[in-house]
Amino acid sequence: MARIELNGIRKSFDATEVLGGIDLTIENGDFLSLVGPSGCGKSTLLRIIAGLEPQSAGQVTIDGSIVDGIRPSARNLAMVFQSYALYPHLSAFDNMAVPLRMRRLSTVERLPLLGSLLPGRRREERIIRADIDKVAAQLEISHLLQRKPAQLSGGQRQRVAVGRAMVRQPEAFLFDEPLSNLDAKLRVHMRAELAELHRSLRSTFIYVTHDQAEAMTMSSRLAVMIGGELVQVGRPAEIYDNPRDVRVAEFVGSPKINMMPGRIRDDSRIEVFGHVLRLASSQPPGNCSIGVRSERIELGSGPFSGAVIHVENMGAEAFVHIGLNGTEARLVARVNDVRRLPDIGSHLSFNFAADAVRAFNSAGKRIDVTAEQPERIRERAVV
């Protein structure tokens, strides 16, 4: 149970800066996902928290005490690696026993032959066995404890790695893309399990992933990192609905948000593909971009029209790819009723509600828009 604070964390490898001043507070019991495209520095940040990598500048504070310069072993954090990093020569039981033996036994007691003769070691081993059995039962791996990692499947290794992290009841758990080596089905299953585990342990979880779906479904808070910067931190729903940056909008959500080139006219209204939206912006006239999520595109009628290029039918829902008439732009619309899908090549009209629009300026920052006469816009959508 720990509250972790990061103040102005910077990291550069030689001349390349990978982290440019990260400030972040992870509350006690939080499930925080560090999410971003590969190479954004999220794993480096996690390794700095763990102590595996020294930061170039800034401070890491765990429960009020500064841990800079303190070895990873003394920080009492547990980490689950992408490759699981199980010791290949040890059984699942011994793998899980390593952190306990390292902490509870002295160097002499850990000696292979001499150590087992000491009375203290026997007593400790009994307690260690009991602790491991408890965690193994919780993770449903009791029957696998005698196996070597090579005899375990990917999902089972994953559980052993989580078990090794759990046994010593650390201050916080660090996960470095732990599900990316699993197949898609198992990944979805483990997602739910990890979220449940977090609820039952009530411990602090920091979870690094490049998979926005993982981050969205599991975490209580999301920290989106792009290019070594923390772009936005917030609850998953808030980040999905209210991205402060075009890169966040494009990264979070699947399929990707539809971005369209727009323009703020001299009368401060926003125009897209020659159609004037009933939205006003306080920003000076100029180019901007408009984002609309696929589920907010309403097919059937409206001022926009295009040809159906491709239809992805997922069974419960479908995504219709539309090429806009006279432009290069492509949009994706989600259709909930898969029984009534348009044919590929057919033309259709569509519209979107004014409150579905997220506008960004040319620098990619979100700009606030105000709807004019919202009743009239609803009418337009119906027409």
């Binding site: 990873p72 003394a74 390593v98 010593r168």
Partner: protein, 313 residues
């Protein structure tokens, strides 16, 4: 049917035909035909000479002699009654017993140091590998200078700190150990390269996991990760060093010729003197058989241990 006959390595083989009745008889020949080339080579290059040596050890053959006669176990009888044989066997075992652990631990230590270093890695690798590439006979001359009682480097350094060094290679009590030191120096570089290859294959994340699991000291991480994961390499290195030090000859021949008073006499050197200086080929062959028995033993141990290799996850 002529297209069902093929010639492989000088041996005519009938290829199987689809009819199952004919197939059975012909199939039994095919595998022999296929292994024939390799088997022939093995017979000519390895097994033949080996059988020759074993046969020779039961004769009184002398190099260049026009005839030989079968004398049964007389050579072995003489050998086991000879004090020099037992001295050379003991010296060889002492040499192996010192050089193998010495060269393995030095090789491992150098490999660990180079691996943990940040720069100049390839320079150090080259430096420590040099003794392996250099001709040992030429290097032995350099060692002779270094160990010279009056103007040698070793005794010069000892004199500086006030110790009167012995005349290393001429003293009965030190000559064998001086040769051991040269042996370790020569083998350590080779072992280092093998250990370095083994160290590179250990995943870095295991060390990070060990660090997070509480293995704070370098020793704890070595015991938890490095040593167990290096086990296959260590087995191989120990056996190879064992075989190579059993074969010690060049340094002995160049520096001491087995002396002073047989204190550095080793198996291969006795074999050489008996066979090529006294021309007693039969007796030399008997010594070779003893030597080969030890090598065979080491090889068997290795193949036993190699089966229990570490499985990487």
């Amino acid at each position: 049917m002529s297209d069902n006959v093929a010639t492989i390595g000088g041996v005519t083989v009938r290829l199987p035909v689809p009819a199952t009745a004919q197939r059975r008889g012909r199939l039994s020949l095919t595998p022999y035909g296929l292994v024939a080339p390799a088997l022939t080579l093995m017979l000519i290059m390895l097994l033949g000479p080996l059988a020759g040596v074993i046969a020779l050890s039961f004769t009184d053959y002398q190099l260049g002699a026009p005839s030989l006669s079968w004398i049964g176990l007389a050579n072995y009888h003489e050998m086991f009654g000879d004090r020099v044989f037992w001295t050379s066997l003991r010296n060889t075992l002492v040499y192996v017993g010192i050089v193998v652990p010495g060269a393995v631990t030095t090789g491992l230590a150098i490999a660990l140091l180079i691996q943990s270093g940040t720069s100049l890695r390839s320079l150090y690798r080259t430096i420590y590998f040099l003794p392996v590439m250099a001709t040992l006979i030429a290097m032995a001359v350099v060692w002779e200078f270094m160990l010279h009682p009056q103007f040698g480097l070793v005794n010069g350094v000892l004199r500086e700190i006030g110790i009167a060094g012995p005349s290393w290679l001429q003293d009965r009590s030190t000559a064998l150990y001086a040769l051991c030191a040269i042996g370790i120096w020569q083998a350590a570089g080779f072992n280092m390269v093998l250990f370095l290859a083994g160290l590179v294959s250990i995943p870095k994340q295991l060390y990070e996991a060990a660090e997070i699991d509480g293995a704070a000291s370098a020793w704890a991480r070595f015991r938890l990760v490095t040593w167990p994961l290096l086990r296959p390499v260590t087995t191989f290195v120990v056996v190879i060093s064992g075989i190579r030090s059993f074969q010690v000859f060049d340094t002995v021949h160049v520096l001491t010729k087995g002396g002073p008073s047989k204190s550095t006499e080793v198996l291969i050197h006795s074999m050489y003197t008996e066979g090529f200086e006294f021309f007693r080929s039969g007796y030399g062959a008997a010594l070779t058989v003893v030597f080969l028995t030890f090598i065979l033993l080491l090889t068997l141990i290795k193949s036993r241990l190699a089966d229990r290799g570490v499985q990487y996850a």
